[in-house]
Symmetry: C2
Subunit: 178 residues, 2 copies
């Protein structure tokens, strides 16, 4: 950030009065431009015993498999965002969405919120951001070709909970080793 | 938003190729300035049978009671954000934080994430954003003087779960009436 989005003047990095963090502050109009973490909302759609994965047609991690997920938009709920992403990436319609994993990734300031849900039908097909969409039984999941650690961890929690017969909400953080 | 924070040129509202929403797009360097929901992280600190509330010393809702909570910062986890807010607003130290309520408020693009937790000690006292900090038994809660609907709803869920002896994670959305 170089310029004030309100007045167009230059911003400088400084700690505002009463604050304890560096912020981008406008030298002209004084507006403080806060930057905050982003929510990545998504779904873990289930059909029978299988889960739906999408093979990415976009960077990053082109060609690898993921759960349908993406940045939450203003004006929607986390659940609506998850359903929208499943529609955009896999033309999938969901029902019975239940919050399943909430994962903080502080070094990139992302918070994943993934919903366990049922597919309404198995008539899904790739959206423009997917090369391929497919159902996988547990033993078929391409563990070595998953796009994100958050996806791997969420799938592990899902299969583990399913074995135990009780689904929890999993709140995790991925911290970098010191 | 009027100016590009990267190059200082004017931005215009338009729907970028391949998108379906109006975005602020720079007329000069072409950067798309996305705007996304913000997370408000906070705590529901418990001491014995009582819960900790803070009376707000700041706008909005000056003078009304709230759970300690505020905007999550870049570089932290949701849990760290909740602990930080409890420290800033009530000089309270928390332990055993467990995700308790996740509440979308789409008309302001906020997502609350509140953690049920224990106070480490009862030596809390008001931070600069609080007029007063106090423990309340259920029958003492100032229901008519709570600052936010999210706080009321979270407290209601807490006392109700406690009566039933099982704490859930509550994922809710506050939608405006059509
Ligand atoms: Zn300015
Ligand atoms: Zn620009």
């Amino acid at each position: 950030m170089n310029y004030c989005s309100e007045c167009g003047a230059l911003v400088t990095l400084k700690i505002p009065d009463g604050d304890d963090r560096l912020r981008h502050v406008c030298g002209e109009c004084g507006v403080i431009h806060y930057q905050n973490p982003k929510i990545i909302a998504g779904a873990l759609p289930v059909w029978g015993g299988q889960v739906l994965l999408c093979r990415r047609a976009i960077a990053p991690r082109y060609g690898l498999w993921t759960l349908p997920a993406g940045f939450m938009e203003n004006g929607e709920t986390t659940e609506q965002a998850a359903a929208r992403e499943a529609h955009e990436e896999a033309n999938a319609k969901l029902r019975d969405l239940r919050l399943f994993s909430v994962i903080s990734i502080p070094h990139v300031s992302h918070v994943y919120m993934l919903y366990r849900c049922e597919l309404v039908a198995d008539d899904f097909y790739p959206g423009s951001e997917s090369l391929e969409t497919r159902l996988f039984h547990e033993h078929e999941v391409p563990w070595e070709e998953l796009a994100f650690h958050s996806v791997r961890k969420t799938l592990e929690c899902f299969f583990s909970d399913r074995k135990q017969g009780v689904f929890q909400v999993h709140n995790l953080s991925f911290l970098l080793p010191r």
